[in-house]
Symmetry: C2
Subunit: 757 residues, 2 copies
């Protein structure tokens, strides 16, 4: 089959780079000194029986991070980043991930290498078998498994262009077999470029000598993690492949088919035996060492390169030599054990392969990262530019272990820098980031259906839930948020149910509103647009304004909406009660932007200092916003007799804003424990009257020491159908309340342990 | 107490006209010939055991229409109009309401007057007692009961201004007692103005002679519906009133307290005996004859006048005569029996009373309908201008019965003119109007919480439901409509669940979209904004466009939204499946605006003719829109070789639009029975996959005779979270589907009988 010609067809071209990807990354948990940990797999990560993202491999210390199948490389790296973030932040504070394929200093006694403590007995048995057959030390090596599938769009179009094969599944299988044969025959090339295990740590080779180090890749060499030499299969047809595998299991050379550790695994269906039915659906590359220079053990460039390389493996003419794969394997062993700073004996062959690859890329006109290709080219010429070469040089500066700890720490610190964000999903709203973090941590399958729209799918087995903005779920009804969105309706419903709401009216013309002046003029009142949610267009008159000011306020409100509300002003402190499933999960007090004097620093300095809080940021991607010192703030200071350069006395609080919104630098203060239960009961009952399950309901309380049943003890001013959650999780002061976990618990009680409060 | 001074206080003034109102209107059901019907109360009106709006009074033929408590006179008349609409359209097609207080020609045999067939035995027993005590004929008179309550805002402010009374409830009771005494003392004045029962019909007076007719008000006279003369109570204090009532029940003068037929009833609590506990909360005027000139038996002007008059009764100095009420009653009897075209003996007293009323209105500066006051003034001078005078003159032209039939028919016809609308709520969306109609018909309590927002509250006893846009309810989840609102998410979810959706992608930049051209260029496709819902910005390319046209389409779509979709074009016919609660309740085919030639008329004439269909209207307040003949339509005609003046051959369909939207004159064709069950099963399953309970889901079906399981048999293009309902209820052709009733059945299964399909 002339795949090269097929790929150049016009109808195929737009789909050349369509593919699906998945990565599994193994890593040893180590202390910050680089010692294998003695702790168990973190409890916070839920149960390994079902966790789709964070598992343990052979040993209890060896985590395996698994991305879902992704439609693009950026998507793949979002998941990789997110899963790493969750993993790091779920580890005991003194632990991190070892960035190398070769394990750290191992215990002298082999039995001190602890097998993964899995629930299923057959999983434990299998590990015991592996320990016996290969030794525990070898199983401690870690790597990257890269799953790759050509886009169905691409394969179907290729299939449509050819006539040799009439069955699509057969065609696909042939495609993958050719890629696999070529990849295996040239396996040494990848080992040369991406091999990254030049040195072993103490106690890896015990009882048997290792090779002379440094090498390019211990893991890919005959000293690595591989089957015994008599394990060999044919790749010419799928039936042969399956037949050989089966034979070896029957002969006892393998305990089961999954013990077959080829550099490429053919995949399709759940088990190897399904392959015969469904054909090859994708392949798994298993010969990639952890790249210590890449935060997640492999870089985006590497993946892009491998994609192009696999496409190239499809078009590249195959050797006529029947033993090409066997020879490739032998060459690979040679390359693996070469000194990483010396030229390979196959350098010339590598040059030719690369030149051919470049020509292929040019003729197919696919866009490629030129810079990385140039790096590859340099590495072919300069062994010191290969991963093994680079790492060995670095290791030489100190010891490999020290370098591994240093680089491992930088990756760990990255995960802790903004502990409220989730890497990979930082463009999403903070509440959604936190929800996704919690979902990944607890082993819910996470699928962002629409990033801009904060729309995610979560699932546990067959149980699927959809969540938008982290708080809109199937547990609430269609009508409850519509009810809350309409302030007039909310007040009517609450009043009907016997709750205290400010008296007031709705007006649709200026004339109507003006005429209502006298109805309100005997006390303070508020004029606001009916549907705006962000405080725009609101005028608060704590005392009766004159008529002209009132008119101005009415016009201001009408500028924002077709209808306005005039409501009596309720004096007191505003509290946000966050209710989930008939429980008050958090109560928050918001305080206007402020600094507290120390008698030494100016207001400007105090602001700058307060802004160093890592919780502060911009654009709602941090739990708090920076305090500004702009025109509004300066006016506010002036009214109090201050300049930005003034030095307030010790202990004096200086407010920079009148409004308490967190979005203008306000402080969020958790006061969940400070309010008496009877207020919480009122909040729960009010949310129930509205028919909501999740709501942020705002109370004005003049004196929280009074019982809620006292006349005038409280007034409810509104209920929010899309209440911010992040400010409760990471408040300025007080206890953080993990509301996102409460939402997940509501949705997946079968997966998330009951709440303790 | 100087109520006049209190009312003039500045703090009181803004609240002077605050009040609450309710009306009960009785009426006999008659044939279109004016004969008492022999049918039972309509079954479609649900059960009288709980119906809040439509009851029967004494006789099975005597309906009683009851408004809820209303906060304003316009609101009162909305309900009155709506309840009348529902009543008329629930009657047997040959029935209507008799517009007079005096009943139509009665059967000669008294027992042929059928008592109301109520479920509760005590209700039947009470009617039997009344029949025995007063005779069935008298009970056949009908009238208006007007419930009136001063605004709490007003009374509280009056209370605050005075010092005589320290208890608010006592204060209120005193207010209502004074109003009642004054009203009763001047009862004759209202009889003079609004009495409207000058003539009886055959068999009303049987066995005993009536007065010489015409009179002003038979009903308010001693020949009317009143207690025996020995039934008298004191109105000086509430305890006296209650004591007297109780005494009369004990003496057997009344069977129970509710048999006390005063012109004013004091109300508070559920039973008369509650009054002592809660005080007087409102009063019920019972001396109003049906006004035959008012569609609903009483006019808004009358109610406004009564309101002012009751306020006046509060301030008017009381007579010192202890017998003032008794005297008022005697005067009333005189006035009732006067010839309606002759001056009253109390004309001068009426003049004085009216002058005093006018002065009161001037000093309090309340705004009043001047014109109606002038009418009243004229009626005082000119007896022929009173209601009785006017009606008697009209009756004289033919017979009273014929005039009553004629005027009754005009009211009936009004209710049938636009049978899809609901009087009183015509400003609301049509679907909501129909839902409210159905709710009122079935006896659900209806409360429009926000008219502009189509937000209503429905209830049955303690069971409350909220509905917006007639289709947004508590039965759907918060997330399902958000999922449907996002076309990308909808498609992903449907595709995941195995349904066929058009292939396509989402793009957020022009460049991305342009680059995708080649992916779609081998078949037809559609370019559309991601979130717009009204067909704006959509380009359909049934065949591959050239690149420039494609670019233009992309820009058009981006003009509407930040993200656009490009989707393969699915050829076939579009069907809207309306799914409620796992059942397809309607399937609709929409056909572009068109006319069918008859070989005689021009297109312009055919359009004009088609537009006479009463189902057509404008602005979504009719089930169909008028067909236009504007620029777009003329262009469309031109493309087919027509002019508006062309005369198409018989049977030829001429399309005036390319798009099939009902909003541009398209026809809605119900095809619910035409599609095979397997398509309906797919629709139900797809809506279930989305998690919706109510959804309008759009299918493209190339050939509906093919099984839905055939490859390419269908594609789902979108699911609508706010699907129009009215077009299904009143389609252009095919069977109407009462979807609104299906929604109510979903919400109130306890009240609405199971669906038959």
């Amino acid at each position: 089959m002339d795949y090269r010609a097929l790929l150049l067809e016009g109808s195929v071209q737009p789909f050349l780079l369509k593919a699906r990807y998945g990565i599994e990354r193994e890593s040893q948990r180590v202390t910050e000194e680089g010692q294998l940990v003695t702790t168990n797999h973190p409890k916070s990560l839920g149960n390994r029986k079902y966790h789709p993202y964070i598992q343990t491999d052979f040993a209890e210390t060896q985590v395996e991070l698994i991305t879902p199948v992704c439609q693009s490389i950026p998507e793949l790296f979002r998941y990789l980043a997110a899963i790493h973030d969750v993993c790091y932040r779920s580890l005991d504070g003194q632990e991190m991930l070892w960035p190398l394929s070769m394990p750290p200093h191992l215990p002298l006694k082999e039995e001190e290498i602890r097998l993964a403590k899995l629930d299923r007995f057959e999983d434990v048995l299998y590990r015991r078998y592996l320990a016996k057959t290969y030794g525990r030390r070898k199983q401690m090596m870690s790597g990257i498994h890269f799953n790759f599938e050509f886009g169905d769009d691409l394969l179907r179009r290729l299939f449509a262009q050819q006539t040799e094969e009439t069955d699509y599944q057969q065609f696909k299988t042939k495609v993958y077999l050719k890629v696999t044969r070529n990849y295996l025959s040239h396996r040494w090339f990848i080992t040369y470029l991406f091999g990254a295990s030049p040195l072993s740590e103490p106690n890896f080779f015990v009882g048997a000598a290792g090779p002379k180090e440094p090498v390019r890749s211990l893991r890919n060499s005959s000293f690595g993690y591989k089957n015994h030499d008599d394990v060999q299969v044919r790749y010419d047809t799928l039936p042969h492949y399956l037949e050989d595998l089966q034979q070896m299991v029957e002969d006892g050379k393998l305990s089961e088919e999954k013990e077959f550790y080829s550099a490429v695994r053919l995949r399709g269906g759940k088990k190897v035996s399904d392959l015969g039915q469904v054909g090859i659906q994708y392949i798994e590359l298993r010969n990639l060492d952890l790249n210590p220079f890449a935060t997640y053990g492999i870089s985006e460039d590497q993946v892009s390169f491998l994609h192009l390389y696999l496409l190239f493996m499809l078009v590249k003419e195959e050797s006529t030599d029947e033993k090409a794969i066997k020879k490739g394997s032998l060459k690979n062993n040679v390359v693996s054990l070469e000194n990483p700073l010396q030229e390979s004996v196959y350098q010339e062959e590598a040059r030719q392969l690369f030149a051919e690859l470049k020509t292929f890329l040019q003729t197919t006109r696919v866009e490629v990262a030129k810079e990385f290709l140039e790096q590859i080219e340099r590495a072919i010429e300069e062994p010191s530019q290969t991963l093994a070469g680079r790492w060995y040089q670095k290791a030489k500066e100190q010891t490999q272990a020290k370098q591994a700890v240093a680089i491992g720490k930088t990756y760990e610190q990255k995960a802790w820098e903004k502990p409220y964000q989730l890497a990979g999903f930082r463009s999403m709203e903070l509440s959604t980031q936190i929800l996704l973090f919690d979902a990944i941590q607890k082993g819910l399958a996470v699928n962002v259906l629409d990033e801009e729209d904060q729309f995610v799918q979560l699932s546990a087995d067959q149980h699927i839930e959809y969540v938008k903005n982290a708080n809109m779920t199937s547990k609430d009804t269609y009508i409850a948020p519509l009810l809350m969105a309409n302030k007039t309706v909310t007040k009517k419903v609450l009043a009907q149910a016997g709750f205290v709401v400010p008296a007031g009216g709705e007006y649709v013309t200026e004339e109507q509103a003006f005429a209502a002046y006298h109805e309100f003029s005997d006390h303070g009142f508020v004029v606001k647009p009916k549907t705006t949610n962000y405080g725009v267009g609101i005028s608060i008159f704590k005392e009766t304004p004159d008529f002209a000011d009132f008119q101005a306020a009415v016009r201001l409100a009408f500028a924002e909406d077709d209808a306005i509300l005039i409501e009596e002003f309720l004096p007191g402190t505003e509290y946000r009660f966050f209710v989930i499933d008939d429980q008050v999960k958090a109560i928050m007090l918001r305080v206007p932007a402020n600094v507290i004097g120390d008698g030494q620093h100016s207001i400007r300095e105090l602001v700058a200092k307060k802004n160093t809080d890592p919780l502060r940021g911009t654009n709602h991607r941090a739990p708090l916003e920076y305090i500004q010192l702009g025109e509004i703030e300066e006016l506010m200071l002036k009214a109090q007799g201050y300049l930005p350069t003034s030095i307030p006395a010790e202990g004096v609080t200086v407010y920079l804003r009148e409004n308490s919104n967190v979005s203008t630098g306000g402080d969020s203060i958790d006061v969940t424990e400070d309010l008496h239960d009877d207020y919480k009961q009122v909040a729960v009952a009010a949310v129930k009257a509205i028919g909501a399950v999740i709501s942020g309901i705002d109370f004005i309380i003049p004196d929280k020491s009074q019982p809620a049943s006292n006349p005038g003890a409280y007034g409810i001013i509104e209920a929010n159908f899309n209440p911010a959650m992040h400010m409760h999780v990471f408040p300025y002061s007080g206890t953080g309340r993990r509301l996102t976990m409460d939402v997940l618990r509501l949705l997946f009680p079968e997966r998330i342990e009951p709440d303790r409060n």
